[in-house]
């Protein structure tokens, strides 16, 4: 992306060009020219400021308090105590572990699959639009619907997936009550919804690669696998990293799929799939007396996201230079 200036607008109409304009109109035109850009971008910054930025800052403020969500008289400043407690809170670390684990389990196969699909779609295909639409259609489905449908597919006793597994003599898997089972089920929901979308993003990047690069490589005798490795991947690297960043930010905030899968914010008997965002919801919204603690969970999550983003950003700079 380039932030460099595009062609500047012309200077305001000079008196010679509009000799009969009265002075007032002239002033208005000048004001228009000066002020309207700010007026046009103002709604974005105002609304985002109030409903996006301010709540995040306030989260930090709340996290320094013992905060009762519904009784204003039961709030007190306690400094960093919530964070101190959080560091020795097993359930918080459990949530961090689950979040990172599910993130990895979902994202790695998702990106590999999306790359594979993009590479497959990047050929002379019949019914091209059909294929593209068909792999994108899961993305149109709401998370709530995904949770409901997959929750049924992943049932232990009468679920379709266990039925299919039984055909190849695999015993029924208790998807909800095992760590790996639940992580897998949630990852499948996430991947089902996002793999096609990411494949299209990759496809767009792949189509921007000049084809003669491949032609010459083919003439050099490079195998298709080798072409993928030494042409496609390096060329789409910025996109790849972009997708990884977006997946990281989304993955660390994972909430709805496990919530619906679990039916509550605990994420299983042993909280084996409770994510950090669910823990935040449990402490901050469901348990009204511990909103400050919930805010501290949000604060820590924010920190995790910043760290992950900065790491990614450094990677981008490195890759682009």
């Amino acid at each position: 992306m380039s932030l460099s200036a595009t062609t500047a607008p012309p200077p305001a109409a000079s008196p010679e060009q509009a000799p009969r304009k009265p002075r007032l109109a002239h002033r208005l035109a000048r004001f228009d020219l000066k002020a309207s850009p700010y007026l046009y971008i103002a709604p974005f910054f105002i609304i985002f400021g109030i409903f996006g930025l301010y709540p995040i800052i306030r989260t930090v403020w709340m996290s320094l308090h013992n905060w009762n969500l519904i009784a204003p008289d039961r709030r007190s400043f306690i400094g960093l105590q919530n964070y101190v407690d959080l560091l020795s809170d097993d359930y918080f670390w459990n949530a961090v572990r689950n979040t990172v684990g599910i993130f990895l389990l979902a994202t790695i196969p998702q990106i590999l699959l999306a790359l594979f699909l993009a590479n497959t779609l990047n050929r002379g295909l019949r019914w091209r639009t059909f294929f593209r639409m068909a792999i994108l259609v899961p993305n149109v489905t709401s998370v709530a619907a995904v949770g409901i449908v997959f929750g049924t597919l992943f049932q232990r006793d009468f679920g379709v997936i266990n039925w299919v597994l039984s055909l190849i003599s695999v015993d029924a898997i208790d998807w909800r009550n095992t760590t790996w089972g639940s992580w897998t089920a949630i990852s499948v929901m996430v991947d089902w919804r996002w793999t096609g979308y990411n494949a299209l993003i990759f496809l767009a990047a792949m189509q921007a690669i000049p084809r003669d690069l491949y032609e010459s490589a083919a003439i050099d005798g490079a195998s298709r696998w080798r072409q993928l490795w030494s042409i496609t991947l390096p060329m789409i690297r910025p996109t790849l990293i972009f997708v990884v960043i977006i997946s990281t930010i989304g993955g660390l905030q994972l909430f709805t799929e496990p919530l619906i899968f679990s039916g509550d914010s605990l994420g299983g008997n042993l909280r084996q799939f409770q994510t950090v965002a669910m823990y935040m919801f449990e402490k901050g919204i469901e348990t009204t007396t511990t909103a400050g603690y919930g805010a501290a969970v949000a604060g820590m999550l924010f920190l995790m996201i910043i760290v992950a983003s900065v790491l990614n950003f450094l990677l981008i700079r490195k890759s682009v230079r």
Binding site: L69, I70, G151, T152, Q155, R156, D157, F158, D174, R176, N177, T178, G263, D264, L266, N269, L270, Q272, I285, E286, T288, T289
Partner: protein, 445 residues
């Protein structure tokens, strides 16, 4: 009971109902001239199955009013939403059901509730089991809930599956086969040997039964302490928890562990999707039935399985699991109309109607005594004399003190640990440790 006495009571009940109905009609007539006092509709919030569908229709036609029944499957979810509605002063129904595990928490803030005492029909306070009525009051004597039901206990079992397993399947024989929980395990082992399946649905099903077959503190003491008050806060260990020293909790836990070790549980966690589906599929043959559970068993099993379930005595004597009150949140715009509806839904005839529909056992003494109730047999449950089974044990129920967040501790700490044990995620010692570990955070209020 002699025939004359029963007649008298019946007559009294009829008279009472007539008076109530007249009272309601009169009040309605009075309210009419006031513009805007007539609500467009009243919302009733319940969880599980309360059996109010027909009653509500009846009330709608009689009073020319629209009533909406909002049901939530899961009590924990129901409670969380209600907390938020009360906190924000918006969203709660005009009449809301409060279960015994959560009512004490809501009593902590009496300002949220309408004092129903002023709206109660004449003599209402004396009509109910006295302990039940008392529990619906706050410490300062405000009536916040009209009693609905008690969860008097029995055991629901599949007579067809018992028969196929070559075991006694008539209800008296079944009742006789498991006077104690140890005998229950023996029956379970027999069933397993014949069918290869678990007999009882889940460990928590059993736990909930055992928990109330003992007296004494459960998770809190009488003063709502979670820890032994003699121990200084700084020195508190998990073993100082009231829950760690409660004989009832211990008994419930040990029984569950025994059942788990015997392998007679079908491992379908109560309220899970597998559990709901299991009723139809015959995944298990027994579930513990507080009377309100009858409606749930029926809804889950479907019409196709009518007559296959039956009701026997619960092992280990009687007990109580659940039971509720109807309250009117102060945020309701139509407090008096809502109170009248709550009054109607808890009166003697309504309680009998609800019982016939979905099983919640009356707490109204007139209802309990009426022949309409006592003579009732439930066609879905192979004509089991459910009124007799449940009604007889209701007199033995001793009120147990439940702390403010009893429901939360029970579901999120106690039952979660047992479910983890059942699914093999933890062994018994680990599960017990996990339970004690979770009590303080779930029980804090």
């Amino acid at each position: 009971m002699s025939v004359t006495k029963r007649r008298l009571r019946q007559a009294a009940a009829v008279a009472l109902v007539a008076v109530t109905a007249l009272g309601a009609a009169a009040a309605c007539g009075e309210a009419k001239p006031e513009a805007g006092a007539k609500p467009d509709k009243l919302i009733v919030d319940t969880f599980g199955e309360f059996g109010y569908e027909d009653l509500v229709k009846q009330y709608e036609t009689a009073n020319n009013i629209k009533i909406e029944l909002r049901k939530t499957g899961d009590l924990g979810d129901y409670r969380n939403k209600l907390v938020r509605y009360l906190a924000t002063g918006k969203g709660a129904g005009d009449v809301v059901a409060l279960e015994e595990g959560i009512i004490n928490e809501f009593k902590l803030n009496p300002a949220n509730w309408v004092d129903l005492g002023q709206y109660a029909s004449a003599g209402k306070s004396g009509e109910y089991l006295s302990w039940k009525w008392e529990l619906g009051k706050t410490t300062d004597g405000k009536v916040i809930g009209f009693p609905t039901d008690v969860g008097s206990l029995a055991a629901c079992y599949r007579r067809d599956l018992f028969e196929q397993a070559g075991m006694p399947f008539e209800r008296d024989a079944v009742s006789a086969s498991w006077p104690t929980w140890d005998k229950f395990i023996e029956v379970g082992l027999q069933y397993k040997a014949k069918t290869g399946k678990g007999m009882v649905d889940s460990l928590t099903s059993v736990t909930n039964a055992v928990l109330f077959q003992h007296t004494g503190d459960l998770f809190y003491d009488k003063d709502d302490n979670l820890y032994n008050p003699a121990v200084k806060p700084a020195d508190r260990k998990p073993t100082d928890l009231i829950a760690a020293n409660s004989p009832a909790v211990k008994a419930a836990w040990d029984t569950s562990v025994k059942i788990h070790n015997a392998g007679i549980a079908a491992k379908t966690a109560t309220w899970s999707p597998e559990w709901s589906a299991g009723f139809k599929q015959g995944t298990f043959a027994v579930t513990m039935c507080p009377s309100w559970m009858l409606g749930i068993v029926k809804a889950n099993s479907g019409d196709a399985n009518s007559g296959k379930w039956d009701v026997a005595a619960v092992p280990g004597g009687s007990g109580n699991w659940g039971g509720s009150w109807l309250a009117v949140p102060a945020q309701s715009k139509y407090q008096s109309e809502a109170a009248k509806l709550a009054d109607f839904l808890t009166n003697a005839t309504s309680q009998v109607t609800a019982f016939k529909k979905s099983g919640p056992l009356p707490t109204n003494k007139t209802a309990l005594a009426s022949t309409d109730f006592t003579g009732y047999t439930n066609p879905y449950f192979n004509n089991a004399p459910t009124a007799k089974v449940f009604g007889e044990s209701v007199k033995n129920i001793q009120p147990v003190h439940l702390g403010p967040r009893h429901g939360s501790v029970k579901e999120k700490a106690f039952e979660a640990a047992l479910n983890a044990l059942m699914s093999g995620q933890l062994n018994a010692d680990e599960a017990w440790a996990k339970f004690l570990n979770d009590v303080p955070s779930q029980g804090a209020f």
